[in-house]
Amino acid sequence: MHCDEDAICLEAVSKRYLLSFHRPPQDIKTAILHLPSVLTHSRARWPFWALSDINLRVRKGESLGIIGPNGSGKSTMLRIIARITPPTTGKLAVQGRISAQLELGAGFHPQISGRDNAILNGVLLGLSLKEAREMIPGIIAFSELGDFIDQPMRTYSSGMYVRLGFAVAVHVRPEILLVDEVLAVGDAEFQDKCFAHIEKLRAQGVTIVLVSHDLPAVKRFSDRVILLEQGRITADDKPDVVLHEYVSRLSLLSRVMTQA
């Protein structure tokens, strides 16, 4: 397989989490005090495969939607693509600067101001300090935070959090944008603004991966959709086809439920 031209390429990627009945000790004191049980019980773990044998290639400039029920591995997949957590087995190749909006709130520190957080994020994502400072006016305008930008983030409402998070994510000039179900928190007006901006980035050739339960949005913004179920890709096709498949399964499921 040649991954050279792809923006994102996963080869036989699996992610395993180890679960155990007994919470493994979090500190040395507990570990020593409970040494006998630590040695016996905490060995009793069983693996949970959040993702198994995922093969996925996303071309540069492609928009990919990921749908699936809760716990199907969508977020784990984004975390692996964003290189937050490494896959247990398999290979991952990513080309281009990734900007990720994973779940609620990007990496924000509650004690420092929104402005400083935005700059910190930009620098951590690989911008120079100067570039990070230059993107601030755009971020303030986009997030409509106004003077609140200089208040510590702990005073922000969840909507303000999301606004700043999304504004930062799209202003760091990403080549790959990962969006995980964050837009639901913003109000309708802001959602429209975000979607318009995603559309703009898409036109500029930015690769986009969108995880959402908002099926109309997925349909609107994706060139291709994959369906994840229990850690496996069970459908990978044009949006219409996959969405139809997913919805018909859901309605089948609900019919069975009501009959039972």
């Binding site: 004191k29 937050i84 957590t85 990007a106 990496g107 924000f108 994502l125 690989g126």
Partner: protein
């Protein structure tokens, strides 16, 4: 306070004024101690960043170590002023000695801190144990006493402590204008070992940070 206690009650007698002996040991130590204390939880307490953004994780402890190093450098003028009041004079040797010792201490700190901070993600009480260990380390290092005050037969034991040779290196640079030489070997050896071990442990555990936090 330390000065009054040790000077008037224990009556430490030294060649150079005692306050200089004390401060030339204390300033590098403060950099050492504060860096380790503050950097130990630098991964564990930054879960919000680590779980959301991909960036080279080692910058978190590095920033603490460098920040405290800058504090140390900024405190040097005070030392210069006090030295000018006494008989000795700063010399050009400082221009080479300070960077060399700074690099050694920076490397030593990064090695130790990478190890401690990486393990702290999985064993949270390590940051408190480190505190206890540091206060012990303080007394077995010639900081509040110069090395020559230690009885000859005990000196080798003090010098096993790699920090001792580094602190003595700083002291002889400031007070005798002596460039650090071969007697620095325990510190150099420890720095290399700490960087290898600390870097190795960090690299092994780094991937698990986001899942453990």
């Amino acid at each position: 306070m330390l000065f009054v206690a040790l000077k008037t009650f224990i009556r430490i007698e030294t060649e150079n004024p005692y306050y200089l002996v004390l401060l030339t040991g204390l300033f590098p130590w403060i950099w050492f101690q504060t860096s380790i204390l503050l950097a130990a939880p630098s991964f564990a307490h930054n879960g919000a960043l680590i779980k959301k953004i991909h960036f080279p994780r080692f910058v978190l402890p590095l920033s603490t170590v460098v920040n405290n190093g800058v504090h140390f450098i900024l405190s040097l003028p005070i030392l210069v002023l006090l030295i000018l009041f006494s008989d000795s004079r700063p010399s050009v040797n400082w221009l080479l000695g300070i960077p060399v010792l700074t690099v050694v201490q920076l490397g030593m700190l990064m090695g130790v801190v990478l190890l401690v901070a990486s393990l702290d993600v999985f064993f949270r009480d390590l940051e408190h144990l480190v505190e206890v260990f540091l206060s012990l380390w303080f007394y077995v290092t010639p900081i509040i006493y110069p090395l020559d005050l230690v009885p000859d037969k005990w000196q080798p034991f003090i010098l096993i402590n790699p920090l001792a040779s580094l602190i003595e290196g700083w002291r002889s640079l400031f007070l005798e204008n002596a460039l650090p030489g071969l007697e620095l070997w325990p510190a150099l050896l420890f720095t290399v070992a700490a960087l290898v071990v600390g870097g190795g442990v960090f690299r092994r555990l780094e991937g698990g940070f986001a899942d453990a936090l």
